[in-house]
C-alpha cells in the first residue's frame, strides 16, 4: 500500500465518521415524532419541553446501551470471508443514500424508518460494489419486509383495543388527566429509542475503524464514539422534525389525551415485547400503527386514510429509494479519491438544497396549537343565593 492511499484511508474514515454522525442526527429528528407527536398533539407537553425531554432521554439511553451491533447490516449483506468485504467506501455511499432519503422523507413529513434507510443504502452500495449476490434475499424478506407489514398491524390492533378499554372505563370529565400518564409513556418510548438507535451509528463507526485497522477486531466502541453518537442523536431529537410530528400528531387523526395515552402505551408495550421476545419490529412503524389504531378506537374520530396511504408508500419505497441513491454514490466512490470527494460535495449540496426548499413552508414548534389546561368542561358552581 502506497503512502497516498494511506492518506486516502484516513480521509475516508474521517468522512465516514462525519457522515455517520450526520445520519445519527437525522435519525434523531426523524424519530422524535414516535415518542412526542401524541403528547404534543394533546397538549400534555409543550412542544419545546417535549423535544427537550426526548433529547435528554435519548442522550441517557445512548450511554446506557452497552451492546453494539456485530455486523453493520445485521446479516442482510453477506459479510466476511464468504461474501463481500464491506469497505469504508461502501459504508460512505450507504450513509449518503440514507441521509438524503431521511431528509427527503422529512421534507414530505413522512415517518419512515431510519434503519430501513440505512439498510437500503448499504444494500444499494453493496449491489454496485459486488453484485446482487451480495444480498441475502431470505433475510431481507424475513427481517425487513414481513415485519414491516406486521409492525403497524400489531400496533394498530393493540392501540385499538387499549383505546376502547380507556373509553369504556373512564367518564368524559376525568379524561383530561390522561395527560399526566402521557408524560411517562412517551418518555419510555424516548428512552427505548435512545438505547436502540444510537448504537447503530456506534456500530457503523466502530466497524469502520476496525476495517481501517485503527481498532482491534474485537474492540468495543471507544468512549469518544459513544459520546459523539449520544450527542448527535440528542441534538437531532431536540431539533424536532416538526413536519413528521405534525403528520403523526395532527394529520392522521385528531388525538385526545386518552387516545394519546393508549397509543403510547401500545407503542411502548409492542416495542419492549418485540425487542425482548425475539421478533424485531421498527419503532417508527409501530408508532404510526398505534396512532391509526387509536383513531379507529374512539367513536367519532376519523382516520385520514389518504395520509396513512402516503406513509405506507413512503415505507414501501424507503429501501429501494435510499438504495438507488447509495448505488449512485457507490458508483462515484468507485472512481477513487476524487469520486469520494465529489460524492460528499454532492451530498452536502443535496442537504443544503433540501434545507432551503424546506424554508418555503416552515413547520416549527409554533405550528402546534396547544389546548390550554382547564379548557375541558367543569360542572358550573351554583351561585349562592343572597
Amino acid at each position: 500500500m502506497s503512502d497516498s492511499s494511506a492518506v486516502d484511508l484516513t480521509l475516508l474514515v474521517v468522512l465516514v465518521i462525519g457522515l455517520a454522525l450526520l445520519f445519527d442526527f437525522t435519525n434523531g429528528f426523524h424519530d422524535t415524532a414516535n415518542a412526542m407527536a401524541t403528547p404534543i398533539a394533546t397538549g400534555a407537553l409543550k412542544p419545546r419541553v417535549a423535544v427537550g425531554i426526548a433529547a435528554v432521554l435519548n442522550l441517557v439511553g445512548a450511554f446506557l446501551s452497552t451492546e453494539v451491533a456485530r455486523t453493520i447490516s445485521g446479516g442482510l449483506i453477506k459479510e466476511g470471508d464468504a461474501g463481500v468485504q464491506i469497505t469504508p467506501e461502501l459504508i460512505l455511499a450507504g450513509l449518503i443514500g440514507a441521509i438524503v432519503w431521511n431528509l427527503l422523507t422529512w421534507l414530505l413529513g413522512l415517518p419512515s424508518s431510519s434503519s430501513h434507510a440505512l439498510f437500503g443504502g448499504l444494500i444499494g452500495a453493496a449491489i454496485v460494489g459486488a453484485g446482487t449476490g451480495a444480498i441475502d434475499g431470505g433475510v431481507l424478506v424475513s427481517k425487513i419486509l414481513i415485519p414491516a407489514v406486521l409492525a403497524p398491524l400489531t400496533a394498530l390492533t393493540v392501540a385499538f383495543l387499549a383505546t376502547k378499554l380507556a373509553y369504556a372505563i373512564t367518564k368524559k370529565r376525568v379524561r383530561d388527566r390522561f395527560k399526566i400518564g402521557q408524560v411517562f409513556t412517551s418518555s419510555l418510548v424516548s428512552l427505548a429509542h435512545g438505547t436502540n438507535d444510537a448504537q447503530k451509528t456506534m456500530g457503523v463507526i466502530t466497524l469502520t475503524l476496525i476495517a481501517a485497522g485503527f481498532l482491534d477486531v474485537d474492540a468495543h466502541p471507544p468512549f469518544w464514539v459513544i459520546a459523539a453518537c449520544a450527542v448527535a442523536i440528542a441534538a437531532g431529537t431536540y431539533a424536532g422534525g416538526w413536519r413528521i410530528i405534525k403528520t403523526l400528531g395532527k394529520d392522521l387523526t385528531d388525538i385526545e389525551p386518552a387516545q394519546g395515552f393508549a397509543a403510547e402505551a401500545s407503542t411502548t408495550a409492542t416495542i419492549l415485547a418485540s425487542s425482548h421476545l425475539g421478533f424485531a419490529l421498527s419503532t417508527t412503524q409501530v408508532a404510526s400503527g398505534s396512532v391509526i389504531g387509536t383513531g379507529l378506537g374512539r367513536k367519532g374520530a376519523k382516520v385520514k386514510w389518504g395520509t396513512a396511504g402516503k406513509i405506507a408508500i413512503g415505507w414501501l419505497i424507503t429501501i429501494p429509494a435510499s438504495g438507488a441513491l447509495a448505488a449512485g454514490a457507490a458508483a462515484l466512490a468507485g472512481l477513487g479519491t476524487w469520486g469520494v470527494i465529489l460524492d460528499v460535495a454532492l451530498a452536502v449540496g443535496a442537504i443544503l438544497g433540501i434545507y432551503l426548499w424546506s424554508r418555503r413552508d416552515q413547520v416549527t414548534h409554533r405550528t402546534f396549537h396547544q389546548p390550554q389546561p382547564g379548557q375541558f368542561v367543569r360542572p358550573k358552581k351554583r351561585k349562592v343565593k343572597p
Partner: protein, 67 residues
C-alpha cells in the same frame, strides 16, 4: 427464509396484555379517584402506584445494564 411465527404471536399477546394492563389500571384509577370518598381516593392512589411499578418494569427492560 424462516419466520418465527411463534415469537410473533408471543409479541402480540404480551404487547396486548402490557398495553391493556397499564391503560386499564390508569383508567380505573381515574374512575375510582373521581370522588370525594377517602376510601376511593386511596384505592385510586394504589392503582397509580401499580402503574408506576409497570413503568419501572419498563425501564428495567429498557436498560441493558440490569440484565
Amino acid at each position: 427464509m424462516t419466520i418465527n411465527w411463534l415469537a410473533f404471536v408471543t409479541v402480540v399477546v404480551v404487547a396486548l396484555i402490557g398495553a391493556c394492563g397499564i391503560v386499564g389500571l390508569f383508567s380505573l384509577g381515574l374512575r375510582v379517584g373521581d370522588s370525594e370518598v377517602p376510601v376511593r381516593r386511596v384505592a385510586a392512589v394504589a392503582l397509580y402506584v401499580l402503574c408506576g411499578a409497570i413503568v419501572l418494569f419498563g425501564i428495567w427492560l429498557i436498560v441493558p445494564f440490569f440484565h
